[in-house]
Symmetry: C2
Subunit: 376 residues, 2 copies
Amino acid sequence: MDFRILSRDPETKARTGLLELPHGVVETPVFMPVGTAATVKGVHQRELAGDLNVSLILGNTYHLYLRPGIDIIKSAGGLHQFMNWTKPVLTDSGGYQVFSLAAQRKLTEEGAAFQSHIDGSKHFFTPENIIDYQREIGADIIMAFDECAPYPCEPAYAKKSVELTHRWLDRGVDHFNETSPFYGYEQMLFPIVQGSIYPDLRKMSSEKIASAGMGGNAIGGLSVGEPEEDMYTMVDLVTSILPEDRPRYLMGVGTPVNILESVALGIDMFDCVIPTRNGRNGMLFTANGIINIKNEKWKDDFTPVDPEGNTFVDTQYSRAYLRHLVISKEMLGGQIATIHNLGFYLRLMKEIREQIRNGGFRKWKEKMIKKLSERL
Amino acid sequence: MDFRILSRDPETKARTGLLELPHGVVETPVFMPVGTAATVKGVHQRELAGDLNVSLILGNTYHLYLRPGIDIIKSAGGLHQFMNWTKPVLTDSGGYQVFSLAAQRKLTEEGAAFQSHIDGSKHFFTPENIIDYQREIGADIIMAFDECAPYPCEPAYAKKSVELTHRWLDRGVDHFNETSPFYGYEQMLFPIVQGSIYPDLRKMSSEKIASAGMGGNAIGGLSVGEPEEDMYTMVDLVTSILPEDRPRYLMGVGTPVNILESVALGIDMFDCVIPTRNGRNGMLFTANGIINIKNEKWKDDFTPVDPEGNTFVDTQYSRAYLRHLVISKEMLGGQIATIHNLGFYLRLMKEIREQIRNGGFRKWKEKMIKKLSERL
């Protein structure tokens, strides 16, 4: 596994790179569609790979652990085999889901006890077993177990939380080093910077995470309700400390504008449910702004979903038809909107990489941000 | 428009034919996937046309009238344009939905008053306006407005009902003859035989429907809860009276076994929600029997969904994966099961046509019925 920076933008911290993983090479900056429970909702694998040319998807250890269960994924020969996805996968450690989704969670030094949001059954995640589970899932990139502090968060709690995350990281790294890959190919472990919106905590956490010497690093605990300016300030601070020659992953972010701004601050990897979840609710991203397809104004607009779009749904279906499907809660509405939005995100990432290579990224970004914020 | 019988089975009433429609040629016997509200749930149009090679789909006038509304479909240039489906469409007249779905329905000689099941708004269908709506939808084949009597049904009610359906048919045919196609191509009007499970009523209705001299004829009011033997008895009786040289459409039927038996009784066209609706609930049809994919026994069966299937989902996904998706209520589960089941139905129809042509239909049918009834 290898990360090479191919070009740098002279005016920002943006860069392009190549991340070589066991299941394929990923061009960065990259956006990972969220495949929570071994599926990107509403999208066939051949559409992900063929129509969208997705190079990396995200799975959720929390969800996969509960359903279908690690034993089933192991019997299948890993997540790639189970879901028939041959390209790279990154798994989230489950920390975020335990704290946002599970019931009756209880945090101790040892780990996190929680009850399944599905059937109330009791479980216990530790920094060690989370490594084991992700080894058994077989993701190309696995994440350290962390506590994702809520927002807002008192400084004292944030400090306690980030320190616990750091002790968990040490245990996770030890366990990672003591264990072997389950399927014969190497896996990368990414630690996660926490620290809420407190610069001193983010600085301390970045230094700790950098010192772990992993092949890539992540930033967690942002885009959880804080003002966007605070998020950008934290990202800027953290990327000034994390090693320059390793990929940086900003977890759970974000809107197209968030991505443009964060690339400028040195981020290489993103994941977010916005294009998929908001798509299913009728929100479409286009190069000219945002469409709420449920609006009355689209009811007799028989022009294509997105004349500038490059997926089959953009030209094969009209806005009026998509509006009808979304309003009627037809499955195909969510399917079309999801493919459209993922196509838009993937194309945005491609254009970002091109603009960085051409040296015009900053100027283009400012122009794009104005257009993308429009409401059509 | 033209229907030609190409071959006849020497041992049953089965036959193969070609039905030429404005949007394409349909090989019969044919199964029409149900596209209730301008979409076959969970299936992209390119999958219907390309992967499944569907030649004819069914739309529901009741649903399309309520949502998106006839005015929107008219503005789009008809249903084909609206949903981007270039091959033939048949629309159900709405009679069945008014009696099974709508609230506060009230039947008079003039027509059927009802309230929308979506928003309670009041509407009135007549034999005439149903012709107008279907002209504006632009289906290749349109259906006469009928009353679909419930099962069980007293003989006196069934008689009153079938007589009303016949008077409505006269009005519908007059209106059809007085009006012109809306989009420049001819449309066929199919009248519908009713009469519950009473041979005398079915005979009377068949004679009435035959006398209308339409290009094709339908049988309604079956598969509504009556014993299967009664259904077959009625079909056998009706097909002995309906003109031999016109296509015969058995509405809302059925299981693969129902289709095999009804083809043997001289039926040429079928539609049914079973492959799509039951598929979404995890019921899969295969050449070796029926699978309830939710069963525990499939949880670690990593063999293909259907090794003998011929759609991409059959070989790209495993039974264990599909089970996980259906149990987790993931959209992709319904999408896979729907494409699998439609692929199975379409393949069954193709084999039926081949067996009729080869003269081995009856023997093959008996063998298939045994296999198809197995529970795997």
